[in-house]
């Protein structure tokens, strides 16, 4: 008690502000209003404490105050339920800095579950986001969804049932995604148009695709780079793709372990990648036409090393099914082979370095590799000239470890 008082005094001395307050919210008829009021009237440093039980919410919640913690009694005990949501494009929207979310669940949001936009510092820990009916095209797009944020930390959380990505970090910088479980989503974990991300210690299973690293044209931030994906279990991602058509992830073949599309300097190492029916690792250019004059659709400086590959290629989907029918064996690591692209009507090329080294495979001992030899980004698969020769081993400097500032 004395210690707490001392700490409180210290806080006043240090910040000159009033003592941080804890807003305690219990489930019940008044909970929705009380909770939104707390999220609006909270002062920096405050905690909003969710009681045990189910909070039935009719509208999206939002927080726009810096340094607030929303904390529940555990991801299975404090549940924000949006079963009857009538308003709001997401369950919970965060637009302020240095916010911590911890120990609660968001279920069945009509749109995205938790979105953090334009934040510096978002820490999500032991949070569950879920669409409880399982994979369904009517589920919301993203589970945990920081976009245009700096210093993102998502850990020990669970994402299930998203019709796009369970954990999606878009157009952000300085990112750690670790020790999470992503299952029964279209994409388990997706890092898109982002700079400097460490994705490790996660389990991605029963998704359509396990872990995706994408870079797309036409967005305010593109040119994704410096991504490390390591020490993850990326296994049994064979849930039939249930993304609404038109979305980029609707093109992810069912049964994909890791998919790298465009991006520069992506290192995938020391993962267990197994039992993904189409392919364990797919490296591809962005294959659609685009008008963004700064965009580079090539996947380049990609390192796939020291991974443990299990079974794959036994149920190829999409374009790779056609390939397989032609008798082309599906490898552990498949590259489209693109080194040329067209931008503004001009053909461009650059040195594309793909390194596949020191992988192990239960099927093929050393992990197998195949280039489709589609030299131009977006060439039809019918023009494939498969080539199993691994690219030369070159040194590509690994990005530095991400530190959250």
């Amino acid at each position: 008690m004395r210690l707490i008082a001392a700490a409180a005094i210290a806080a006043i001395v240090v910040t000159g502000a009033a003592e941080a307050k804890t807003w305690r919210i219990r489930p019940g008829a008044e909970a929705e209003q009380a909770l939104q009021r707390a999220l609006i009237e909270a002062r920096p440093g405050d905690t909003v404490q969710l009681g045990r039980g189910r909070f039935e919410l009719s509208g999206g919640l939002s927080l726009d105050v810096d340094r607030v913690t929303i904390r529940g009694d555990g991801e299975n005990r404090s549940i924000l339920s949006f079963n009857n949501q009538r308003r709001g494009a997401e369950g919970l929207l965060i637009t302020s800095d240095n916010v911590t979310l911890r120990g609660f669940a968001v279920e069945n949001a009509r749109g995205d579950a938790i979105k953090a936009r334009d934040c510096n510092g978002i820490h999500i820990r032991q949070v569950r986001v879920e669409w409880t009916r399982g994979p369904n095209a009517e589920n919301g797009a993203y589970g945990l969804y920081p976009v245009n944020c700096d210093n993102v930390l998502i850990e020990r959380s669970i994402a299930r049932g998203a019709s796009d990505a369970g954990i999606y970090v878009g157009q952000s910088r300085n990112i750690i995604v670790r020790d999470n479980l992503a299952e029964f989503n279209v994409a388990g974990i997706e890092i898109e148009n982002s700079f400097n991300a460490d994705v490790f210690g996660n389990v991605a299973t029963h998704n359509t695709g396990g872990i995706l690293v994408f870079d797309l044209p036409g967005l305010p931030q593109q040119g994704g780079h410096d991504i490390r994906v390591f020490n993850n279990r990326i296994v049994d991602n064979n849930t039939p793709n249930f993304a609404p058509a038109g979305n980029i992830v609707a093109g992810v073949p069912t049964g994909t372990g890791v998919l790298i599309m465009a991006n520069r300097n992506v290192h995938v190492f020391e993962n267990e990648i197994a039992d993904n029916g189409t392919v364990n690792v797919l490296i591809s250019s962005y294959r659609e036409s685009f008008q963004d004059e700064h965009y580079n659709p090539l996947a380049r400086d990609i390192v796939i090393r020291d991974n443990e590959f299990g079974n794959t290629g036994y149920a190829p989907a999409g374009d790779l099914a056609a390939l397989s029918q032609l008798g082309v064996p599906i490898p552990d690591v498949l590259w489209d082979g693109a080194t040329i692209y067209s931008r503004g009507g001009m053909a461009r090329t650059e040195q594309v370095r793909i390194v596949v080294d020191d992988n192990r495979s239960t099927r093929t001992r050393t992990g197998s590799f195949l280039s489709l030899g589609l030299a131009s980004a977006g060439s039809p698969i019918s023009e494939a000239q498969p080539d199993p020769t691994p690219p030369p081993i070159v040194e590509i400097e690994e990005p530095e470890r991400v530190r959250i500032g």
Binding site: R87, G88, L219, Q221, A245, G246
Partner: protein
């Protein structure tokens, strides 16, 4: 009505209310109202001259609980604006479930807004933008049985704008501050004679910022040069004009003065060119005011661009629907969805030129599911007129997204 000095029209007495059930017999109700006002005035010992707008209340750190504390209106029902509380109209307003909107600006005596061609005028500290949302019991008779729901204030403080929603009571005698929003059940008959029931959602502070946000700064949306630049014989300043011979709101009220010129003449605005030389958007639903292309773009500018601009809340989508954006690609022509989820409806492009039936933008304008619809907040019904306009616009596009009528 027709031969009077237009300046005279902006004296507050010109905007005396047309209360429900009262016809064209102006003098009688005006007499009654004056008598009532006098009574109020006598009891508050301010005799004939009503108290001016209370600038101390506007400046106060803590906003008052009741709208009446500001003295923006002379009557409890907020029909008759006080001195310097100037009604204004926009060429193309935001759709809000078809609600009637009554807009006023208060600029402190001796001060002026600074004109800008682009963006909202630079209003001096102490400015208040006042907007009341209302429905008539039967929207085919919009001057009768008008029920005020809320009056939103945007107050220009030294540190920026703040938003304060005041919710009207059942008796329509006072409006009370509701910073965390509110839900008001509303039922009315719409212009097509259909019975409509909805829960009007008064936005909370965060939801206000969800639209009024430019690069993190709270910003008004409507009062810019091009939307205030109204002229011609068929435009009204205020729906509460006397001589109730037309059933329509805004009333067709002959006035020859351009609204920008009137603001200049009234010393509300400095630095403005003559209205005839200033930018102007057409009225979206008046073909006489502009081409299909310009009217559609005016509609998108007002209804979408507050979020979909490079500094707005939806900047991460890459869509830019501002009036000043002339590149069809930025409007979404040929643009693939990024984070639309099931909002894509399975379509490939935001705008598929010539094909409104497979354009995501139109699909989301017509949606009412909170996880799909656009705008995300501020409506529950579909703006059928707006959707028809956009449908027509997309249908007339060539493959480059240009419209030739």
């Amino acid at each position: 009505m027709t031969s009077e000095d237009p300046m005279d029209r902006r004296r507050p007495r010109r905007h005396a209310p047309t209360l429900a059930g009262e016809g064209a017999g102006g003098p009688y109700w005006r007499f009654i109202l004056l008598a009532l006002l006098s009574l109020v005035c006598i009891t508050t010992a301010t005799a004939q001259a009503p108290a001016p707008v209370n600038q101390a209340v506007i400046a106060a750190e803590r906003p008052p609980e009741l709208l009446s504390a500001y003295h923006f209106f002379r009557d409890a029902g907020a029909r008759e604006p006080n001195e310097r509380v100037t009604p204004y109209d926009l060429n193309t307003p935001l759709y809000s479930d078809g609600a009637l909107k009554f807009r006023y600006v208060f600029i402190p005596p001796g001060q002026q807004a600074q004109y800008r061609d682009e963006g909202v005028f630079e209003f001096p500290v102490g400015t208040v933008l006042i907007k009341t949302f209302a429905f008539a019991a039967d929207m085919r008779q919009p001057t009768e049985n008008v029920r005020f729901l809320e009056t939103r204030l945007l107050i220009r403080r030294a540190e920026g704008w703040i938003a304060l929603p005041y919710v009207w009571n059942e008796a329509q005698t006072e409006a009370r501050l509701s910073p965390i929003g509110a839900t008001i059940p509303v039922s009315f008959t719409n212009e097509q004679g259909q019975a409509i029931a909805l829960d009007w959602a008064v936005p909370n502070r965060n939801q206000c910022k969800g639209c009024h946000d430019v690069a993190g700064e709270f910003t008004p949306i409507g009062p810019n040069a091009r939307n205030l630049n109204r002229a011609g014989p068929d435009i009204a300043f205020s729906p509460w004009s006397e001589g109730n011979d037309s059933a329509l709101i805004p009333r067709s009220d002959p006035i020859s003065t351009n609204q920008l010129d009137a603001w200049t003449d009234d010393h509300l605005l400095a630095g403005a060119p003559p209205g005839a030389n200033a930018p102007r958007v057409p009225r979206a639903f008046d073909p006489a005011s502009g081409s299909l292309d310009l009217r559609a773009r005016a509609y998108l500018d007002v209804n979408c661009a507050h979020c979909h601009n490079p500094q707005g809340p939806a900047h991460t989508s890459g869509l830019d629907l501002r009036w000043s954006q002339h590149d069809p690609i930025a409007w979404g022509v040929g643009k693939r969805p990024v984070a639309a989820g099931r909002g894509s409806a399975g379509f490939e492009f935001a705008i598929d030129p010539g094909h409104p039936e497979r354009s995501i933008l139109l699909y989301r304008l017509r949606a009412t599911d909170p996880g799909v619809m656009m705008p995300e907040t501020g409506r529950q019904l579909v703006d059928e007129r707006g959707a028809a306009l956009i449908e027509d616009w997309i249908a007339h596009m060539d493959s480059e997204g240009r419209v030739h009528e």
